[in-house]
Amino acid sequence: MRVALFATCLADTLFPQAAEATVRLLERLGHEVVFPMEQTCCGQMHVNTGYQREALPLVRRYADVFAPYDVIVAPSGSCVGSIRHQHAMVATAAGDTRLAASAEEVAARTYELSEFLIDVLGVEDVGACYPHQVTYHPTCHSLRMLRVGDRPLRLLRAVRGLELIELPHAQQCCGFGGTFALKNADTSAAMLADKMTNVLATGAQVCAAGDASCLMHIGGGLSRLRTGVRTVHLAEILASTS
């Protein structure tokens, strides 16, 4: 299958290892990956901060750039959630019904990584090996916007050598929330403190998730406290073979 990768601006810029792992994983599973260079950002930060007008060109760009592809995959539940649940809304609010229609079509062909692996490819065991103790944080948007359910856990359980330790109160938000972490930095930090407490209680050495943004937040806290626990994107674990 020919798969277009939407790397997301965050992974492209700050966490290239997550996007690179997605490429290696999909290629190992026998698929052709393409990366349209005209892609940039889904515009979620603008929409969620109250700048829908500014987000409009980014919504248009996403729909145009990915229109030619049958399947688009992104290593982010949050960005796919925005594409699926906000792009058409932004276009409609701007009175652009044609864009709303095309945004809707492209969104329907856009998958978060665990959705793509399980629902489209029908694979749970991707042949990965990752001999570490891992706890998994289900990110809010993958959980409550995309409803990925236990798909990431099924993928992780099939990884050789990986010991999956359940995260207490896993479904509570880590406190990132995009610009929320800046505008309400104190409340965000309080939420992060509780998330870190739960991560540390597992004793795992790795905290995994399907969103680089939440991982940047949790990882930033774990690093600040010198906990020695590191954050790793789900794609990196699934791409790992040693």
Binding site: A7, C9, A11, D12, T13, L14, F15, P16, Q17, A19, E20, F35, M37, E38, T40, G43, M45, H46, V47, N48, T49, G50, Y51, Q52, E54, P57, L58, Q86, C140, L143, R144, M145, Q171, Q172, C173, G175, F176, G177, G178, T179, F180, A181, L182, K183, N184, A185, D186, T187, S188, A189, A190, M191, L192, M216, H217, G219, G220, G221, S223, R224
Partner: protein, 474 residues
């Protein structure tokens, strides 16, 4: 209505819809209160568990939510017609209906009604609408004492405090604090009072019984009003509401106009949704319903005050009006990770938590509560918990789009969007070296608001190359 014909917002200077400071500053103070965080965290976790258990018993819970949502959408679509029908039925049944455009009008109506009875004291059923308009203060200014009879509301009143939760207004207090408040402020309290829940409840009971039996006027809110029959309904747990609604000679009910339901049968849906979502009970202990007045039984004078106070303005926003579907169950508060940590006072309004963050700014106009739509990480837990399926995250995003933005932020957002729409510029901006220079040594000394991040978190290590650089080299 204003002279332009647009519905008015809730007026300033009266009631409790606006805080003294923006949410981030108020939250900062609340977060430092370890007792508050412990109390609220414990209480919300307990209610969440109870509620999840009883909701899990109903196989048709999702259909009930759909039904609740559909009935409310229908009500909003023909609100004027339903309110006129309600007025006609209540009047036929011997009640008197008053229309209050805002808090000032409602307070004036209630004050003059109480004055006309000659009573200088009223007993109150727990009510959000009367908290919203600051009725107790208005009555007090007119020399009329208002006694809250809901136990938690009484704790708040005696403590000269503000409610911090829709359903459990004293959720921020623990029993040791409640004992202190009673000892300090409850008339005739036993000085040997302990902090055992039974003992505290008994003290309140003794005080309230006396008040119930000696007060001639009661003021209540309403959970529902049935347009086809003119029936009002109040649901509660303690029975103190039932006392207020049946013992006095005069009953005055202040109700937000959005509470009307078309038919008696609609109650079937809401009386299942509300207790399971709010207290985690299958059925609330007391459901009191009354239609006008019944000679020789219960209050012989009944007044219904229909309150707008910004609601028509909310109704005028086709996306925002969902907030009027709220049945005040507080399920969204109990699942909200922000509310759980800050408590309710930080929201500055009698409506705290996620629903408050979308309702208060719409009632007052966004300028007066501009920080509230941002008091959420958009985690979506509130939408899942809402028994009438109010899409609170969607509303938050909708209101953020209307909120006034700081000039520096507006410029930064415009620049970011422009860069993101020009891939070459974007790639240039991405280059690690530039970012590194901006970030300094792992973000030390960043300007506001970026310093908010580095106060508690490290910045990520910068990668040697971006993904697109890696891809181009393959």
């Amino acid at each position: 209505m204003t002279f332009l014909g647009m519905p008015a917002r809730a007026p300033r200077g009266v009631g409790h819809l606006r805080g003294d400071q923006p949410f981030p500053a108020a939250a900062r103070e609340a977060l430092a209160n370890s007792q508050l965080r412990r109390n609220v965290g414990h209480a919300t976790t307990t209610i969440r568990g109870k509620s999840a258990a009883v909701i899990g018993e109903l196989p048709d819970w999702q259909q009930l939510r759909e039904a609740g949502s559909a009935i409310k959408a229908d009500v909003m679509a023909r609100l004027p017609e339903l309110l006129k029908q309600l007025e006609a039925r209540v009047t036929e049944a011997g009640g008197v209906v008053h229309w209050a455009a805002d808090a000032n009008e409602a307070n004036a109506i209630v004050t003059s009604l109480v004055r006309a009875t000659g009573s200088d004291r009223v007993i109150k059923v727990k009510s959000m609408a009367t908290q919203e308009i600051g009725l107790n203060e208005a009555l007090e200014a007119a020399g009329i004492a208002a006694v809250e009879t809901d136990l938690a509301e009484l704790i708040v009143q005696l403590g000269r405090d503000k409610p911090s939760h829709i359903l459990v207004p004293a959720i921020h207090r623990n029993r040791a604090e409640i004992r202190e408040i009673f000892l300090r402020a409850m008339p005739g309290v036993d000085p040997a009072l302990t902090d055992e829940p039974r003992v505290l409840a008994a003290a309140a009971r003794r005080y309230l019984r006396e008040t119930f039996l000696s007060t001639k006027v009661a003021v209540s809110g309403a959970n529902f009003a049935i347009a086809e029959t003119g029936t009002l309904a109040v649901v509660e747990s303690e029975g103190n509401g039932r006392m207020c609604l049946t013992l006095p000679d005069t009953l005055i009910t202040v109700m937000g106009i959005e509470k009307v339901l078309p038919t008696w049968q609609d109650l079937e849906v809401f009386l299942q949704l509300l207790p399971r979502s709010s207290t985690g009970e299958r059925m609330n202990p007391y459901t009191t319903m009354w239609t006008g007045v019944t000679p020789g039984d219960g209050p012989q004078e009944f007044h219904l005050v229909l309150l707008d106070n910004g609601r028509s303005a909310v109704l005028a926003d086709s996306v925002g009006r969902q907030a009027l579907h709220c049945i005040r169950c507080s399920a969204c508060l109990n699942v909200c990770p922000v509310y759980e940590r800050t408590g309710g006072h930080a929201y500055g309004s009698v409506y705290p938590g996620p629903i408050g963050a979308v309702l208060s700014p719409q009632l007052t106009g966004i300028e007066d509560n501009a920080s509230l739509p941002y008091a959420s990480s958009l985690c979506g837990a509130c939408f899942d918990a809402c028994p009438v399926k109010i899409n609170i995250p969607e509303l938050l995003v909708h209101l953020r789009n209307q909120a006034p933005h700081p000039a520096a932020e507006r410029a930064a957002m415009a620049a970011a969007a422009y860069t993101m729409d020009h891939p070459k510029l974007y790639a240039a901006a991405q280059r690690a070296a530039k970012l590194a220079r901006i970030a300094g040594r792992r973000g030390q000394g960043l300007p506001r608001p970026l310093s908010g991040w580095t106060a508690a978190r490290d910045l990520p290590e910068l990668p040697k190359e971006t993904f697109r650089q890696w891809w181009a080299k393959r």
